[in-house]
């Protein structure tokens, strides 16, 4: 047992055309079996239910992020993969992921559900029975949401926080206007915004020297460039131009042509960034103002 605990362990069950009751039963069985005879039972510690809406093209990346995050946020994760073009049905992959802590293990649960056919348009009815009572519910929406879809509407109705990454969106800055529409219904956070945190701290340290800045040049994603420009517009109270040199991560910022120093430390990885979002509960008025300023609404 000790050897297994030292590296953590995982146990899984898969089924096709499953029911929610079957999934709950299998999960209980995995939990039961994970504790060895005579040893202390493993701890099922949960801090939230984490839903991930993952269209098939995002699946592998989502699983990668999840692998790095599960240890940090013991939770029940519901990975929903919509396949509306396939025959009606629900397929499930249930896994118990345990990590060592002292002489015991902390176990998190991942339930991967493929929502086939009409099931893809009724995610709330599938998710609701699987939520952990009384704990917050976060939904990470991979890719750009289909803004007027029933799925988005339903999930927004049951979650405490919607997490997007506007770097994954094609239509920028136009889509920010759609995002603004959600602010009244659900707390929204944006991983693209989170990734600018170190740089925003750095720029804040340049105050008041940058109070009158007129132009920001960003070497990074378009989302980061627009959000940083929106942030400066909303905080400084005046308009400014934005110039983007596209890059897959934030590599540099210049204000009125003058490059800013690099912030200390290394940029956080995808799991860390998502993890940081899962620690937050309240609306972020600074982010919302930045999005509004970016969208011009």
């Amino acid at each position: 047992v000790a050897k297994e605990l030292a590296r953590g362990f995982e146990d899984t069950w898969t089924g096709e055309d499953v029911t929610i009751a079957q999934i709950e039963r299998e999960l209980a069985r995995l939990r039961d079996e994970s504790s060895k005879d005579g040893a202390q039972p493993n701890l099922r510690t949960s801090v939230m239910t984490h839903i991930a809406w993952v269209p098939p093209e995002w699946q592998s990346r989502a699983e990668e992020t999840l692998a790095g995050m599960a240890e940090r946020h013991p939770s029940r994760t519901l990975l929903l993969v919509p396949r509306p073009d396939e025959a009606d049905g629900l397929d499930g992959l249930v896994s118990l992921r345990c990590f060592p802590i002292g002489d015991r293990a902390i176990c998190g649960e991942v339930i991967e559900l493929t929502l086939r056919g009409n099931r893809a348009s009724a995610p709330a009815s599938i998710v609701l029975p699987l939520l952990i009572s009384d704990l917050p519910v976060f939904c990470r929406w991979r890719g750009e949401p289909v803004w007027d879809s029933a799925e988005l509407d339903q999930l927004i109705g049951i979650v405490d926080r919607l997490i997007v990454d506007s770097t994954e969106w094609e239509d920028l800055p136009g889509s920010y206007a759609q995002l603004v529409e959600l602010f009244g219904s659900v707390v929204v956070s944006d991983i693209a915004w989170e990734r600018t945190e170190r740089w925003r701290s750095l720029l804040a340290s340049l105050w008041p020297g940058i109070a009158e800045v007129e132009q920001i040049s960003v070497k990074g994603t378009r989302a980061q460039a627009y959000l940083l420009a929106g942030w400066l517009r909303s905080r400084l109270g005046h308009d400014l131009d934005v110039e983007v040199e596209e890059h897959d991560q934030l590599e540099g910022i210049a204000l009125d042509g003058k490059p800013a120093e690099f912030p200390p430390g290394n940029p956080p990885n995808a799991s860390d960034v998502l993890s940081a979002q899962l620690d937050r509960f309240a609306r972020d008025p600074v982010y919302e103002a930045a999005v509004r300023a970016t969208a011009g609404v």
Partner: protein, 500 residues
């Protein structure tokens, strides 16, 4: 341009202090290399130090700037909780200097002043200073005076003072007076690193953020409280200090009384430094001096710790062969106020005990009338709320539960919250939190002068009774839970120490 920086709104790193220089007196000691510099590195890694920041080490040992930096670099590699990153280190080391200084030496103090002025100009710090006194109490008065003499009008000054703060009430009061001649109370940060521990702060969260605990946190529902601060290590070569201090001054006067105060205090009106400390002082003032029957002292003999044979205290290097220094103290304390009247707080602390453990156990009264058959609840223990301060940081609640099957058998089970389980991020070291708080001027987790006075008054009263008797030392074997008299202290009341 508005005065307030609008760009700081919403940033998680808002708690970044003003530019400053941290001066460490006693920079050649273990505390600096094992705790302070690694803590500063971890703060730097997380971007929590000011952009403009310097560190000046000062000690008697002759060392160049480069030698000091090299030694501290190795210290970070050996002792920091984070992996070493060259870039972070370079930035930290850029503002790092060393001054050889004899504490009563004007020239050394002038050298220090010149170094600080140069660093100020080079990095653009503006005169803010944090002085960290990792030196014996006897050196503090002189240093404080020297600092005050060389104080200029630019910037703020904060003094962080390590324990021990004096060695008895008179010396602590004298030190307080010396400091107060030159500095205001809000410039003085007396450190007790226990208060920087997440789990100690969590005690405040547990009590005052949860509606279910506070209504039963009193003499009506709580039978007694047990606090254990146990170390499995010996004196680790610190005979010079420990022979003078003993367990009562090393642990009881500071860490243990802080744990009692946090457990027993009334809810503060807010979480500001003075509100929290006002409530702690009230508890300290309410602690009744334990009589000789309510206090046990011990000294370890030879024994086995974790399977390894260890020598007796009196055989440790530097310890007198007939030493009467106590390495263990157990006491029955009463907090004489409305909430806790007649509710004992049993405390024990010591070295070379069975294992390293700091816990606060709140033992509730038994259910008044369990309606089960005789024998059904045999072996059922009372409900205990157990706060694990270290290790395995977390909280457990012992409750009775039915054993599955026919009939009704009840046994005690634990509901566990483990910090490492719910929050998988590494807990920051206490020194990270405390150094940052001092730089920010937040004294909530530091000990105020009147707290120190109350702590020493209690210790002096206890020690005074010790002058009259001469216990037979050693009276417990290393690797056990202390002398038999410690168990008897509870047995007399029909209670026992919880099984660790």
């Amino acid at each position: 341009v508005p005065d307030e920086n609008p760009l700081e709104a919403g940033l998680r790193l808002r708690r970044r202090p003003d530019p400053c220089i941290l001066i460490i007196f006693g920079a050649s000691g273990d505390l600096t290399s094992k705790k302070l510099i690694p803590a500063l590195y971890s703060l730097a890694l997380r971007g929590l130090l000011p952009e403009k920041f310097g560190i000046v080490g000062a000690a008697r040992t002759e060392e160049t700037h480069a030698q000091f930096r090299a030694r501290m670099k190795q210290a970070v590699k050996d002792h920091a909780r984070d992996p070493f990153e060259e870039e972070v280190w370079k930035k930290l080391a850029h503002g790092m200097r060393y001054v050889t200084l004899d504490f009563a030496d004007d020239k050394g103090e002038d050298d220090l002043r010149d170094t600080l002025t140069e660093l100020d100009e080079e990095v653009g710090i503006g005169g803010n200073r944090v002085y960290y006194f990792a030196v014996p109490p006897s050196a503090i008065g002189t240093l404080v005076e020297e600092i005050a003499e060389r104080r200029n009008a630019d910037g703020w000054i904060r003094l962080i003072i390590e324990k021990p703060f004096g060695h008895d009430l008179a010396s602590a009061e004298e030190l307080n007076t010396e400091i107060k001649e030159h500095f205001a109370e809000n410039e003085v940060f007396r450190i007790d690193h226990y208060l920087g521990k997440e789990t100690v702060q969590n005690m405040l969260a547990l009590r005052f953020a949860n509606g279910i605990f506070e209504p039963i946190w009193n003499r009506q529902f709580i039978d007694h409280v047990q606090i254990t601060v146990a170390e499995s290590i010996g004196i680790e070569g610190r005979a010079g200090y420990y022979e003078q201090a003993g367990a009562i001054r090393d642990i009881f006067q500071n860490h243990l009384l802080q744990l009692v105060a946090i457990t027993a205090m009334e809810p503060p009106i807010d979480f500001t430094a003075d509100s929290v400390r006002n409530e702690k002082v009230k508890v300290l003032k309410s602690i009744h001096t334990p009589g000789p029957k309510h206090i046990v002292r011990g000294q370890y003999g030879a024994g086995f710790v974790e399977g390894e044979e260890v020598r007796a205290y009196r055989e440790e290097e530097g310890v007198a062969a007939g030493s009467m220094t106590e390495t263990f103290v157990a006491a029955k304390l009463f907090v004489d106020n409305w909430r806790w009247a007649d509710t004992p707080f049993y405390v024990r602390m010591g070295k070379r005990l069975a294992r390293r453990e700091t816990t606060i156990a709140i033992q509730f009264k038994r259910a008044p009338h369990p309606p089960f058959e005789d024998g059904a609840a045999e072996g059922l223990r009372p409900n205990v709320l157990l706060i694990h301060v270290q290790p395995n940081e977390g909280v457990s609640l012992a409750i009775g539960a039915k054993v599955p099957g026919q009939g009704m058998t009840i046994r005690t089970v634990h509901m566990d919250f483990l910090y490492g389980g719910a929050f998988r991020e590494g807990l920051p070291d206490a020194y990270e939190r405390l150094i940052l708080d001092a730089m920010l001027g937040d004294a909530t987790l530091f000990t105020r002068s009147d707290e120190i006075v109350e702590q020493w008054a209690l210790v002096d009263a206890i020690v005074a009774t010790w002058q009259r008797d001469r216990p037979s030392f050693p009276n417990y074997a290393a690797g056990t839970w202390g002398p038999a008299a410690s168990d008897e202290l509870l047995h007399r009341d029909g209670r026992s120490w919880r099984r660790n």
